[in-house]
Symmetry: none
Subunit: 401 residues, 2 copies
């Protein structure tokens, strides 16, 4: 596959517009009752028509057999090889709570926990304290001052919070302090590379100060940190593709992932319909739009086959609003599969439609797993979708003489 | 994909013969009138029969979405990863004028241009002087002598010429002297790596001497150089595949590309028919033949759908001359797509037929984009064609114990 640096040399700015519609958890599996997947069950005439006019295929978000998290699933669709560009758990957590994470920042996930008098962890979740209590305790922790870095503590839910370190020369290359089981003491944070000495010192200092502050707050009398990771500092879509890119997403995590890729975040309301309205409103102002639809994934995770079918049908009705804008390139796909029968993300490849005036249509006549696997795009890595979209938008010059 | 060094270990010499027929710009797009591509429109019974007997697929010359130049398109078919083996613009230019470029040489494209009294470029093309004038001026420039290298100046057409530096320890890693717009002075040639100091000095020295010689030749009173690049020094097909390879091509550039791969260049006449005659004449003497047909690409570039169809039908008639020779392996494909509707090279994958006694035929019954994409070869990188051809010719031994 072509590298980001190579494609950067080929990209060129034009007035043409690309729309990427990400139907989260799009791919499914057949219901044991009917033998049909969610997509095969849904009545989706507009998507079927788009599949007919466009070229179809199946994407592997990460690599065959690999079940993607939301970050690799999306980064791949944005054109980043998800095996190369990694978003750590700490960073993903703070993206999910809309924290404005910056280049250089190191983030970690935190738990309030319970330790006994000898310092041994007796409950990794501090009896799942209430979110209110959590907020109160984070308020107290926010008084901690460290030498050489700012630190932000943000409550998440129940016993969970997030921690962000901001300062010079930080690194995420340290181990967790969380021992992952009761009966052990919290671990010291140890640098895994020489560059990580500073963050290890900061983290241990923070933990010591938090322990003092929390001493009288049993069951939440200690903290555990894990998933230290640094802002991945991706080359932006503007740098690579010379795109003026914008994102429309209701959930913070997806806005955060788009922000990592350098997209502008548009106000999008709270419903699917609001998102499509937002696209129409901002359509003149950008040349690349990422629209994220969550409901398919959450229904899949709930194991609610029918709700996923209903969500697909709702998307299908709203699709005409994109079609009416007549984008030069329209890509419809998902960041991974979330089959209702599995109630989770899965490794199955995801159907994709690419539509443009120049796309060389194939014989696929409906948008489904079983139709798309015989599409002319074949089966290919999701990270190649972006080059195809750029080519169809006539935004890539010839490679080589 | 297997590396060239790995495949070298597996290759073995046998009497079997491979023929690669490259139909330049083969892939197309549907005509808006009929909904059929050039290949789908052409009456090509012999190619259809070959597709039926062989195994078919679609190749990506460089990477999905990437529009290839002629050099990467051909190198891929010869088995070189075109993202790794790069032929620079200067080298391609001198290949195109049949200059006998050698390992170590550095070539650049040149323009005669006009500068004013202050040295500012006022016309990058010197009013497009005639080719005759160009030849006359190149004759004068050929008196330039440089310390530490030979230099060749070769007229191309109108204001364009090519320059080749031959000497020890040269490199192509320098910037252009061409400022790419009027109103600026020509730039100094600056080394981009320490190894390029010598070529930068030679180029600047040459430019200064040319300026003196041309002073009274306004509008052609200065030169601009760009696309400095070095002979890519590819491992040859004889080294990698133990093949005694030969090339049949009417246009110099394709002969030049074949020469880079270590092929012998056969005299081929000027017509398509001459090329097929040449194949028959030399058939006993080599075990790999590359035959290049240009007409499909030039018709595509001209936007002449019907001429491309006619060229395909002519190729189909002549195909029997290859079939009659009964090569062990016959590969028919293109170096890229050149859809007449786009009037240019494009990113679309290219149909391929691989025929041999051992090829495991599929259900494809005609040679077209819409038939080949469901062929059993699937969609795959063009650089893998060579290993498939070698395997089918029984020229590769088992890999691993």
């Amino acid at each position: 596959m072509i590298s980001i640096n190579q494609i950067k040399e080929l990209s060129t700015q034009t007035p043409s517009k690309i729309v990427l519609l990400v139907i989260d958890g799009l791919g499914g599996l057949p219901s044991p009752d009917t033998g049909k997947s969610e997509l095969e069950t849904a009545h989706i005439p507009n998507l079927d028509r788009l599949a007919t006019k466009g070229i179809c295929g199946m994407i592997d978000p990460v690599s065959p057999g690999i079940t993607p998290g939301s970050a690799p699933g999306h980064l791949a669709l944005f054109g980043y090889n998800p095996l190369e560009f990694i978003v750590g758990r700490g960073i993903l957590e703070v993206l999910g709570i809309d924290f404005d994470v910056k280049k250089g920042d190191v983030a970690a996930r935190g738990n309030f926990c319970t330790i006994d008098q000898t310092g041994i962890v007796t409950d990794r979740r501090a009896g799942r304290i209430s979110t209110e209590k959590n907020t109160e305790l984070c308020q107290e922790l926010s008084n901690i001052v460290l030498k050489g870095a700012e630190v932000f503590v943000i409550p998440v839910r129940e016993h969970r919070f997030a921690l962000v370190f901001r300062g010079d020369e930080l690194s995420g290359e340290v181990n967790d302090s969380d021992p992952q089981q009761v009966g052990l003491a919290p671990k010291s944070v140890v640098p895994l590379t020489p560059d990580a000495r500073k963050i290890a010192r900061l983290a241990n200092d923070y933990i010591a100060k938090a322990k003092t502050i929390l001493a009288d707050h049993s069951p939440a009398n200690m903290i555990l940190l894990r998933g230290f990771s640094q802002h991945p500092d991706l080359p932006t879509m503007s740098e690579i593709y010379k795109l003026n890119a914008a994102a429309i997403a209701v959930y913070p995590m997806y806005r955060g992932l788009a922000k990592l890729a350098g997209m502008e975040i548009l106000d999008a309301g709270a419903s699917m319909e609001d998102e499509f309205d937002s696209l129409r409103r901002y359509y003149p102002d950008y040349d690349y739009f990422f629209i994220h639809i969550k409901k398919t994934d959450s229904s899949g995770e709930d194991g609610n086959f029918d709700a996923k079918v209903t969500a697909l049908e709702e998307i299908d009705r709203l699709l005409t609003r994109i079609i009416d804008l007549d984008p030069d390139v329209l890509v419809v796909s998902g960041d991974h599969s979330t089959p209702a029968v599995l109630k989770s993300h899965s490794w199955h490849p995801v159907p994709v439609i690419l539509y443009s005036k120049h796309c060389r249509p194939d014989n696929v006549r409906e948008f489904s797993e079983s139709a798309c696997y015989s599409g002319a795009l074949g089966r290919f890595p999701a990270a190649e979708v972006m080059a195809l979209a750029m080519a169809n938008a006539r935004k890539l010059v010839k490679f080589g003489a």
